[in-house]
Symmetry: C2
């Protein structure tokens, strides 16, 4: 006979995401056992065009603020923006110790310095062999391969069973710098038994196994050998292993290396200082020296491979860089595939580069060999599932179709139907007595960061911005007598984002006539309240303008009573 006591329910193990589900970005996951709560990652996401003027999106942390006393720590799997970008904003609300590897902490420190939060934050360096204890949860790690050094998967040992969080990963059997993944350790974890596997899903739609980063190195070296003049190469600043290969190709071809772009300089500094990058002392030159060296002796490594309009590559391509000019026959390599949404920006840059007469190596990675993904394809994901043999499976880090495909992959290697939980941000998976169920929901959502120090933008502000952005606005100023409500000064109209060349004068004159008529009609019998006048002016003018222009500018009546 099964007896479920209240104690068991109280001790239940809970898993949920505050970000990272049905999106690529702002990853934040929580493992809670009774009164011990651990956070995994705290990322940010960049807004799309519909979020006018918003700088950054971070997870809603209401739940964490309400359970502050239970939080034992934030464990960070690796140093990408979608895993660390939200940390400063979390720290402004909750002070929590942060655990990460040497390189990850280096990138977090950069961020905390910028936000002047470094001094008050407790940063604890861990490695793949660390063992941590937080109340009833023991934590250990395994090393994974990804497109940034020093990545970890996490094993949580709870009284209920073991939970594994993969972090972001691929299997690269010939990694740069011999940073091998701990496949044996993963196998051992699987042998010990995994209750729940939480695994990333970014490339669950792509068949096959991700190619090794080493491949990119071969292609870079070949391109450098063929280049007759300057080489400009752009990649993600955080892809230190690719940067190492660019360094190596620079050495082999007897060139010097200049770095362009703030994040490139910053990350290379961290990587050098912490031993993740080896660059001979005399290889690096200042960007200002480039123009004095023979072009065949130079490589310029820069940011901006995603077409970011303010980054180094965009400035080079438009001829607006102060130190470095791209000249005919220079070779420009885009060593990164455009992330969905960035294709147009990248194409614009490639056009500009061709206009300057450069030879441009660009396009899909399968054509150029200048990029490989850091996220495992279907076979990588199946290998992880096979190694871990989980009872329950929670696919994370992906949009819905990726989670869906990942579920099918899990079932193809033996996870039982019904044992995969496709959750949303805020959905809680509760596990008790080796039974998992998903019934509860905690608060979750997007928190917008807009400017600094002021707080969050509200829905109404965004709606206003949208209307203003599409149709502009019309301010109507009217001065009325306080005594009898009669018009003292003629209406004046001011438009922004709405007027059109010549036709507009006539249109605005007619608006004036309409406003006067509306006011006179309303006040005919008795003086009306201001809000009534405003409402009726809005209505009358709005209808008139729509009939004339098919546009709905924001109408802002201002009535002064004297």
């Amino acid at each position: 006979m099964e007896v479920i006591t209240l104690t068991v329910i109280k001790n239940a193990l809970s898993i949920f995401a505050l970000g990272g589900i049905n999106e690529i970005g702002k990853n934040m996951y929580v493992i809670q056992y009774a009164d011990d709560l651990l956070i995994v990652d705290c990322g940010a996401k960049f807004p799309d065009e519909s979020l006018l003027g918003i700088d950054l999106i971070i997870p809603d942390i209401t739940y964490l603020q309400e359970h502050k006393e239970k939080i034992k720590g934030l464990i960070v799997t690796h140093g990408h923006e979608d895993h660390i970008g939200g940390i400063p904003y979390l720290l402004k609300k909750i002070n929590v110790p942060i655990y990460g590897t040497r390189f990850t902490l280096g990138l977090i420190e950069l961020k905390l310095k910028e936000h002047k939060l470094l001094r008050e934050t407790e940063l604890i360096e861990i490695g793949s062999d660390s063992a941590l204890h937080f109340g009833q949860i023991d934590v250990s790690f395994f090393r994974t391969n990804h497109s940034i050094p020093d990545c970890l998967g996490i094993v949580f040992q709870t009284p209920e069973g073991n939970i594994v969080h993969t972090g972001d990963f691929k299997f690269d059997l010939t990694p740069v710098n011999n940073q091998f993944a701990d496949i044996h350790k993963m196998a051992e974890v699987g042998t010990q038994g995994v209750l729940v596997l939480i695994s990333e899903s970014t490339n669950a739609e792509r068949p096959g196994l991700t190619p090794s980063e080493k491949l990119v190195g071969h292609h870079i070296e070949e391109a450098f050998l063929h280049a007759e003049r300057k080489v400009i190469i752009s990649t993600f600043a955080s892809n230190v292993n690719r940067i190492q290969q660019i360094v190596d190709a620079t050495i082999v071809t007897n060139r010097k290396l200049a770095l362009l772009g703030r994040s490139m300089v910053n990350v290379v500094d961290v990587a050098l200082e912490r031993g993740y990058l080896t660059i001979p002392e005399d290889l690096l030159i200042d960007a200002r020296e480039v123009k004095y060296l023979p072009p065949e002796d130079v490589v310029v490594l820069c940011t901006g491979s995603q077409g970011e309009p303010l980054a180094a590559l965009a400035r080079l391509a438009s001829g607006n860089h102060r130190e470095v000019k791209i000249l005919p026959e220079d070779t420009v390599i885009l060593a990164a595939s455009p992330i969905p949404g960035n294709e147009k920006g990248v194409s614009r840059i490639v056009d500009n580069l061709f206009q300057l007469g450069a030879k441009v190596i660009y396009g899909s990675s399968s054509n150029t060999g200048m990029h490989v993904s850091g996220h495992g394809y279907q076979e990588d994901l199946k290998l992880m599932l096979t190694l871990m043999k989980p009872k329950f499976f929670i696919p994370i880090h992906g949009e819905f179709r990726m989670l869906h495909q990942h579920r099918l992959l899990a079932e193809s290697v033996g996870v039982k139907r019904g044992h995969t939980f496709i959750i949303k941000n805020g959905d809680v998976v509760d596990i008790e007595n080796a039974k998992a169920r998903q019934t509860r929901k905690i608060p979750s959502g997007d928190t917008y960061v807009d400017g600094i120090g002021i707080g969050e933008v509200e829905g109404i502000v965004l709606r206003d911005r949208k209307q203003l952005s599409e149709d502009g606005m019309l301010v109507i100023v009217l001065t009325l007598s306080k005594a009898d409500g009669s018009i003292i000064l003629e209406p004046d109209t001011i438009s922004r984002g709405f007027v059109y060349a010549k036709e507009s004068e006539d249109l605005l004159l007619k608006v004036n006539v309409l406003v006067k008529a509306t006011i006179s009609e309303l006040q005919e019998e008795s003086k009306q309240q201001l809000f009534v006048l405003k409402r009726e002016i809005k209505k009358a003018v709005g209808q008139y303008l729509f009939s004339q222009t098919k546009r709905k500018p924001m109408i802002l009546p201002i009535i002064i009573e004297i």
Copy 2:
């Protein structure tokens, strides 16, 4: 001894583009010999997100308006939006006879009806064997393959030599409906001698030969055979050959066909009426009947394959379609690749479809086989160049990198270096005595269509909209004494798209204090002019708000003098 008389110069042949260069969209080309001017195509382009509130972009036709009397006609190569979308706007300024094939004219008529321009427009039907004469220019045609029926290439015979304009094309040796391209005629044109080839460049970056449209038909039929319940398939309404194959697969699998989406219904009507599509009478059903039929008997053909948020597929995917519901195990096929820029919208729809439990066939055409391009790849382009053997070459219809690649292709099959002209919109290629040079420029650019009937949006309006969209605005109303400039009513502030929750009240109070201080200081010695007061208020408040919020809302001081 060579004698160049003034007459020869006056008669020179000129070729230029008013749209279609360094862009995909708003194609419009001009061939002029002395006083005879012919226009090829008149397209529109859809704006990107930076053009806030703009509905459509059409070419600047200043040059045509200034040379109205020379215009002999508009010849339309085919019926895609980027070749016919600008016609109503051209006709509002210049009445010009329009030449096109039967199907092309059908689509143009739809457009003219919408704009109430059909009655006053002269539409002249031509076929691939038509011969036209415009002053000193004779015009003939050849049939090409593309992703819409009834496409033409154009041969202009001028006293200076023959000009060939390819229109959009690929070589499909097994076309649907046996609409074979006139390869023999093209060869003959080449044998007679081509002075200038004007050829499209859309896929100049892609190696190989475009696959045949027939391939898509095989994949569609196979998918229909495997579908156990309803099939929903989405493709471009204008791709009538693909629609024919969908019709055929529907017949083979004993299903009925419902059409969803206004443009799908309209284009199918035109195609049926003009004989480009064969549908058995009892095959078509009304959308309202779908829910009463067994799901395995139904195919729904709909618009929205590019993720357009208001099209049929998006409404089906979000469960908001009145007549048709997507149910678990239904099969949804996206028979179109996302056009660059549309990836995110398409992904969102795929996510929604999976959430409804549908089986979704989506992704790159190389994986699914559900789409082939209508634009020739590199081998198609080389075949056209080889058939035509032009002396001079002008690559058109593409962004710069595509034109650049097309030039390399031309040189690889024998066009001499220096004989390719990579022009911009407005650049004129003048040809005299078999010599071509590019030195002149005529007015060109983007004309924005915003709403209806009002005219064009100016740069300043767009800049205003951008500022309003990102940072919102703050209106400051102030009433001053006309006599001495003293403040009669306290400043009032109204913000839109800018205020933030609680902090804002305090912020706006401080703005009021600042405005009063600024006014008092300025008026201390003597009354200032209004524009000085406004300028100084803007400056003081702008600086203060930026220091507090890192935002730059539009500041609009309104001063009433009583």
